[in-house]
Amino acid sequence: MEGMEQWKDQLEQLKIQLEPWKIQLEQWLHQAIEYLDQIPPIQLYAAIAVLFISTLLLFSIRLFKRTKSNTIVLTGLSGSGKTVLFYVLRDGSSHQGTVTSMEPNEGTFVLNSESNKKGKIKSVHLVDVPGHSRLRPKLDEFLPQAAGIVFVVDAVEFLPSCPSVSEYLYDILTKASVVKKKIPVLICCNKSDKVTAHTKEFIRKQIEKEIEKLRASRSAISAADISNDFTLGVSGEVFSFTQCRNAVTVADASGLKGEVAQVEQFIREHVKP
């Protein structure tokens, strides 16, 4: 009980100490109100309106940016020609050739073929993610902001690499960030200028077949540990890309010859000028 009383005493003392501060504060408040009364009310309202509108504008800009991404991700196996495609889209030539990438190439620019056009053109943020399997985790950094994915396939050396191509594509198509946002995917059959290159229809069919096999084995494995976030296609039916929730299209291209019209078209479809 004694302790309680002591405590009360202390509280009283504190209140006494705080008293002058209280008076001071009240004085200031009065002063402020007087000052406000002097200002014409229109000015006051204008100030409030300006504050309100500017905050609204800032928010809307952020929201706008988030919804309208201009990022296009170039991905695919190592050696399929992503870096060449990146530089062809940016500069119109592959310069002196490329070697295996160790880091992603990034750039925000107006596509080379459109650089002569007049008027305002929205620039594209293009990312070329290395294809080496050790560097695949890097892809996850760019997928959430992607407006479209260009999956580059080597049309010449397609058959030997078909299983790994399909597996990588399967992984991408079942990622949560891709499925939920319905990010469109373009399968770009690169090196189509070569005589021995396979046609895009053939490549599409082969990949569909391979994914059909993967569906069986992956659905079995998911119970064990590998966690693909979604399953592909409709169960009981043979898989085809039309069953995907996001649009999957196929296109031809030749990076070295600079024939990338279909890729540019894809980019422009999803990043509006």
Partner: protein
């Protein structure tokens, strides 16, 4: 002869290649270098050897981390080019000055490169000559030419004419260049540096002659053991040497004075120890060693001189200012304490020492010269880089989806054969049973093959597992050749339509030659779809030895030209090690094979997949 020199960005765009060297490289050495060396965190190594049909190259590289540039030089392995390291450093310095991220064509660098190359070659030549200074000066020029001729095989004529002299050389050189293409382009260049080298040599003799001469005399009397330290030493050492030399010559080398001579040299400390082994080797190697140690030594000294007073004088204020503004460039010295701490931490997590060392070197190579971002410390930067490296290593390079491969084999009406190999007592049979159980759950018909015909009770152990899992077992008792048993088992599986054959082998130590030979035969004869190395997570430094020797023996003892190596790793006893998960890293790094399964308990269900993220987190905790 230098085959090619490339400058490219880490993003993969070639910025500049040496056009006059324009030899088409056989195969794709650059891509192979990046894929199997730089991306595997082996960039701390000094050089990389590339073999392709009809060509064997050595590649050397250097990074400019701040600008994200890579410089690679390619040359024929049989030529030990002395100036490559030097040249790469020069090229890096010059190129970083003109580099602009927006520019992609650097044609004007051709001229600079030509000069740099002359410089580097001249310096190499000079050093080589300085070795031969003992002989009369007149000879040295001819000698230099003779050695040159060794370099430019089959171009002796050219050499002869260049000795003739001045004005004609250039014309002739140009003419030849037109006739013969690339190879002569190089020779034309070489003429001039050699001339300058010769001149330099003469000039130097006046000052260096006595020193070199003495060192040579020493060499003769001592039998070439302690030489050339003179070249490396500063003026401080020289006087001592001179004294010793005089004594030697005049004393006719009695054994007691010989001991006297060696003592002062030894007293000079580490540098001697570094140089001596090099000087025992081939002379060219010798020169190279001296160049590198000289220049590095100077740089290191400067760094230390610069950094130490700074740290002490400016104190906390400057360090705080640095942390806010971001430090200019990371030097090796800045990284060392953080890397050492990291290495120790990795080793406490049971990572093999050798591997922790290599990883740290690689991380250092990737950070050196980089700018430190604002509000970061060196240690956190190093840790982030290491984390990235670890994720990269542990991410599987090949597909680890066994079930898909099983289905693919099923379509071809072949059984999918898995061979379990490993040292004694790591749990091959137990985990074989776990894998069988996992496969059974996914509606795959499994058969076991008891090819451990060596240890008593092995067949019975496997039979017990088979009975409990109710799967067929193929056994032929003991004292049979395991390779034959496996072959018969596969035939049997084909007959009765089993999808997977799991082959159990006897445990063997990696040094046991006869048993390793038997294993090699088993693998060669049956050509399994998957060779699974079973290793226990408890192992420390021995993991490296086990895996590398298994791989080595499988490669050496195989009779085929394309030997089968280990495809995957099964890590057992993972539940017993708490946070000491280093063995996973050691094994993956040394073999490049992914960890396919992790055994983590006593029951059939205790088989998991490796979680890369959690492993990396544990390793760096």
């Amino acid at each position: 002869m230098l085959e090619q020199l490339l400058i490219f960005t880490r993003g993969g765009l070639i910025l500049w290649t040496c056009k006059e060297l324009g030899n088409a490289l056989k195969g794709s050495p650059i891509d192979t270098l990046i894929r199997s060396c730089l991306l595997e965190e082996r960039s701390g190594a000094a050089s990389y050897n590339y073999d392709a049909p009809g060509a064997s190259y050595t590649l050397k590289w250097t990074f400019h981390n701040e600008l994200g540039l890579v410089f690679v030089a390619v040359y024929q392995r049989i030529l030990h080019l002395l100036y490559v390291d030097d040249l790469l450093a020069l090229v890096r310095r010059e190129f970083s000055e003109i580099y602009d991220p927006k520019r992609t064509v650097y044609n004007d660098f051709d001229e600079t490169f030509r000069q740099l190359r002359m410089e580097a070659e001249a310096r190499a030549e000079e050093l080589k000559k300085s070795k031969q200074m003992v002989k009369p000066v007149n000879n040295s020029k001819k000698q230099g030419q003779a050695q040159k001729a060794g370099f430019d095989k089959g171009n002796k004529k050219r050499e002869g004419s260049s000795a003739g002299g001045g004005g004609d050389e250039n014309d002739e050189g140009k003419g030849r260049k037109l006739e013969n293409g690339h190879s002569n382009g190089n020779i034309f260049e070489i003429d001039e540096p050699r001339m300058t080298a010769a001149v330099n040599g003469k000039e130097n003799t006046s000052s260096n002659f006595s020193a070199f001469d003495v060192s040579k005399l020493q060499k003769r009397t001592k039998g070439g053991k302690k030489t050339d330290t003179v070249v490396n030493k500063g003026s401080k050492v020289d006087p001592k040497k001179k004294v010793t030399k005089k004594n030697r010559v005049w004393d006719d080398a009695p054994p007691e004075t010989k001991l006297d001579f060696t003592d002062p040299v030894d007293g000079n400390g580490n540098e001697n120890i570094e140089v001596v082994p090099a000087s025992q080797g081939e002379s060219m190697m010798d020169v190279e060693e001296i160049i590198s140690s000289d220049s590095e030594g100077e740089e290191d000294d400067n760094v230390q001189k610069d950094s130490k007073p700074e740290a002490t004088k400016k104190g906390w204020f400057s360090s705080m200012f640095q942390s806010i503004a971001g430090k200019a460039n990371l030097e090796k010295g800045d990284l060392e304490p953080a890397l050492k701490a990291l290495k120790d931490r990795l080793m406490t997590k049971n990572v093999a020492e050798e591997i922790a060392e290599k990883l740290c070197e690689s991380v250092a190579a990737s950070l050196e010269g980089k700018k430190l971002a604002s509000f970061t410390r060196v240690s956190s930067t190093v840790q982030a880089a290491m984390e990235e490296a670890l994720v990269r290593i542990l991410t599987p390079r090949r597909s680890i989806d066994i079930l898909r491969d099983v289905h693919a084999a099923k379509e071809q009406r072949k059984p999918y054969v898995v061979v379990f190999v490993g040292v004694n007592g790591v749990g091959k049979s137990t985990n074989l049973a776990k894998v069988a159980y996992w496969l059974l759950q996914h509606n795959v018909s499994v058969m076991m093959a008891a090819c451990d015909t060596f240890r008593s009770g092995a067949v019975e152990q496997l039979r017990t597992h088979a009975r409990r899992l109710q799967i067929p077992i193929f056994e032929k008792g003991y004292e049979k050749d395991p390779a034959i048993v496996a072959k018969e088992a596969i035939q049997e599986a084909t007959r009765n339509g089993s999808d997977v054959v799991l082959v159990d082998t006897a445990g063997r130590m990696q040094d046991n030659e006869p048993l390793m030979r038997a294993l090699s035969k088993l693998i060669y004869l049956n050509n399994p779809d998957l060779v699974l190395f079973v290793g226990e997570a408890l192992v420390g430094n021995d993991a490296v030895d086990q895996l590398s020797k298994f791989n080595q023996k499988l490669a050496d003892l195989s009779t085929s030209s394309t030997p089968r190596l280990i495809d995957g790793i099964l890590l057992t006893k993972f539940d017993t090690i708490d946070d000491k998960v280093g063995a996973a890293l050691s094994m993956v790094y040394i073999s490049g094979a992914p960890v396919m399964f992790v055994g983590c308990g006593q029951s059939y269900t205790d088989l998991k997949k490796l979680n890369v993220k959690s492993i990396v987190k544990t390793l760096l905790k």
